[in-house]
């Protein structure tokens, strides 16, 4: 143990969002409580909302075949699809605000998604190291308590930036339905003029959906792969909140 302490004292291995206390825990082949309950709850609610949003969003762009269940007066199929989309969008938005709040009051890991340490040379070196690990050029990945640097980049661009983009463009479209004299129109309406009209706003919102779909594919694959091949747990961490490490090696 003393050699580890010396290593830490010399300033190495403070990576992957690890705090001093974390590092001491890692080296004992133990687990770290990373994701607090609100973060986990947000993750799964958000995942569910995004699933609903993608499916219903795609159907809004390309509606299901015409259904004749009743007279139009008594049938509301497409209305329900749109309702589900709007409701899930509202839930996602409220959740996202809750998540931002938790970044302030939660533990340090709750903040990782919202920033990139762009001026940290060591972080960039590890981005490259992690990229090499994914290109099969690295035999052994590093240990990470929070997101690894590549994951952090993905989270930042697809979730923090991407979701903000989807919320903003989504509300701009929603404001059209609400009407041109509401608060939503005042806030989001000018964006419609900025992008060149409602039709263009629909298209970029639609493209954003596909970016999220691409993220889902990568995210689920990486989580499962890392769970199997990396040196720490992944999938169970988002359920229990604890990251368990598989070996004792501090590096």
């Amino acid at each position: 143990m003393s050699s580890v302490d010396t290593d830490r004292g010399s300033g190495i291995a403070l990576t992957g969002d690890a705090t001093d206390a974390d590092l001491a825990t890692i080296t004992r082949n133990s687990s770290v409580y990373v994701y607090e309950a609100p973060v986990r709850l947000w993750h799964w609610i958000n995942a569910l909302a995004i699933l609903v949003l993608c499916v219903t969003g795609y159907l809004i762009g390309s509606p299901p075949p015409t259904m004749i269940i009743a007279e139009a007066t008594y049938q509301f199929v497409f209305g329900y699809i749109r309702f589900a989309h709007f409701a899930a969008g509202m839930i996602m938005t409220v959740g996202f605000f809750g998540r931002i709040y938790w970044a302030f009051v939660g533990n340090s890991h709750a903040r990782q998604m919202f920033k990139l340490p762009l001026f940290n040379g060591k972080w960039w070196a590890e981005v490259w190291g992690e990229a090499r690990w994914y290109m099969f050029l690295e035999k052994k990945p590093k240990k990470y308590v929070g997101h690894n640097p590549l994951a952090q980049i993905a989270m930042f661009f697809f979730m923090t930036v991407g979701m903000t983009f989807m919320i903003v463009t989504g509300f701009a479209l929603y404001s059209e339905g609400v009407g041109r004299d509401g608060i939503l129109d005042t806030v989001f309406g000018p964006l419609l003029d900025l992008v060149g009209g409602s039709q263009m706003m629909h298209q970029i919102h639609h493209l954003g959906m596909w970016a999220i779909v691409v993220f889902i594919i990568i995210h689920i694959y990486a989580a499962v792969r890392e769970d199997i091949m990396s040196r720490q747990t992944m999938v169970s961490t988002m359920i229990s909140g604890t990251r368990t490490f598989k070996d004792d090696d501090p590096n």
Binding site: Y58, G61, S62, P63, P64, P65, T66, M67, I68, A72, T73, Q75, F76, V77, F78, G79, I81, Y134, F136, E176, G177, G179, R180, D181, G189, P190, D193, G196, G197, S198, Q199, M200, H202, Q203, H206, L207, M209, W210, A211, V213, V214, I217, I218, Y221, R225, I228, M229
Partner: protein, 366 residues
């Protein structure tokens, strides 16, 4: 034309009864979305105010705005032109031609400095110093600037003057430019549409004359009373949209039954105009009612938004023409295939690693 002549005087002199005049006032009030309380106000304005001089100029355009305008039913274009305004210059409607016509314009500008309304149909092309549109021997852009200099307000008729329309569609070789980008120091009312609805055109003029001010404009400078809602919001086929009953083919049963044209690329959900409420040709019909989707002609850059028959528009920014779904499917497919290949290599690699590690125990067993 005596400039103290009021609208009412002119109408009466044409044999229009007071009763008809009052009917006209109440119809105009309702067309403008005003309550009955405004009827006397409109009547009073018509009885007392001098007619407002209007100069109507034509740039790069097809004259469909004029064609629409002269078909206005409430109020009749005849009433507007002959009674409400003093249309002192309009190349296509005036009797005079050539030098006499140009002289009439100069005379109006001189006589009514700061009082006349400039109505612009079409837009000026700016490329090659404006040589792509010559009117009266001079580039149209010069005429526009000259006429706008002393105007009280400018009305941009139609999609051309408001946004550029087809002549400004990519790649816009003549550099056709909407009026508000050339005239920047005057209040401008955009009345987009290709053409705008006749009643909207005359309604805007009526409002300006009655209340002596511009109608309430939205963020883009369009009269809010006519462009405040999407066609979709007031479409009589909306229940079929909410029900999920769509026309799938032009000749299917849904088309005959008048189902929603959303899947056929109707731009009603993204177009702000009054077609679904005021309709066309004295309220007879409008595109969706006749079985064809809205093409979004009153929206900015509607020629550059892909075909009229796609719901998910083609985007040309990527070099090849593809819509958001095609791009998304391709991206998700490439990423999915990449992930699958990566997973396979990962599995092989880890199997390889295990195989390399296992020899020792295998040897021990042996």
């Amino acid at each position: 034309m005596a400039n103290t002549e009021t609208f009412y005087d002119v109408m009466r002199s044409q044999g229009i009864t007071r009763r008809s005049f009052m009917k006209y006032c109440s119809l105009t009030a309702s067309a403008l979305g005003l309550g009955p309380a405004f009827v006397p106000q409109i009547a009073h304005a018509m009885e007392t105010k001098p007619r407002t001089p209007v100069i109507w100029v034509h740039g790069l355009e097809c004259t469909c705005c004029s064609e629409s305008f002269i078909r206005s039913a409430h109020p009749l274009a005849k009433d507007v032109i002959l009674s409400m305004i003093s249309l002192d210059y309009d190349d296509t409607l005036m009797a005079a031609a050539g030098h006499a016509a140009e002289a009439a314009m100069m005379e109006t500008i001189e006589k009514y400095k700061g009082q006349y309304i400039l109505a612009v149909e079409g837009n000026p092309p700016l490329n090659e110093d404006g040589m792509f549109c010559i009117s009266g021997g001079k580039p149209f852009v010069e005429k526009l600037k000259l006429a706008a200099k002393d105007a009280k307000a400018v009305i941009s008729w139609g999609a051309c003057a408001s946004y550029g329309c087809v002549q400004a569609a990519k790649p816009n070789p003549t550099q056709a430019t909407p009026v508000h980008k050339v005239i920047t120091d005057k209040p401008i009312i955009k009345v987009p549409g290709c053409p705008p609805i006749a009643e909207v055109m005359t309604g805007v003029i009526t409002y300006m004359l009655t209340f002596d001010r511009l109608p309430e404009l939205d963020r883009q400078g369009r009269p809010a009373m006519f462009y405040g809602q999407r066609i979709h919001d007031k479409c009589y086929r909306r229940p079929h949209f909410d029900a999920g009953q769509f026309v799938e083919e032009w000749d299917d049963d849904g088309a005959r039954k008048g189902y929603c044209l959303y899947k056929m690329g109707c731009k009603g959900p993204t177009t702000y105009n009054a077609c679904s409420t005021i309709r066309w040709n004295e309220g007879v019909s409008f595109p969706i009612q006749s079985g064809h989707g809205c093409i979004g002609c009153s929206e900015d850059g509607f020629w550059d938004q892909g075909t009229f028959y796609d719901r998910v528009t083609d985007l040309t920014q990527f070099g090849v023409e593809a819509n958001a779904d095609q791009i998304g499917f391709a991206a998700a497919g490439v990423v999915g295939a990449g992930v699958a290949a990566h997973a396979a290599i990962s599995a092989l690699k880890s199997a390889q690693n295990k195989a390399q590690k296992t020899p020792t125990p295998t040897n021990e067993e042996a």
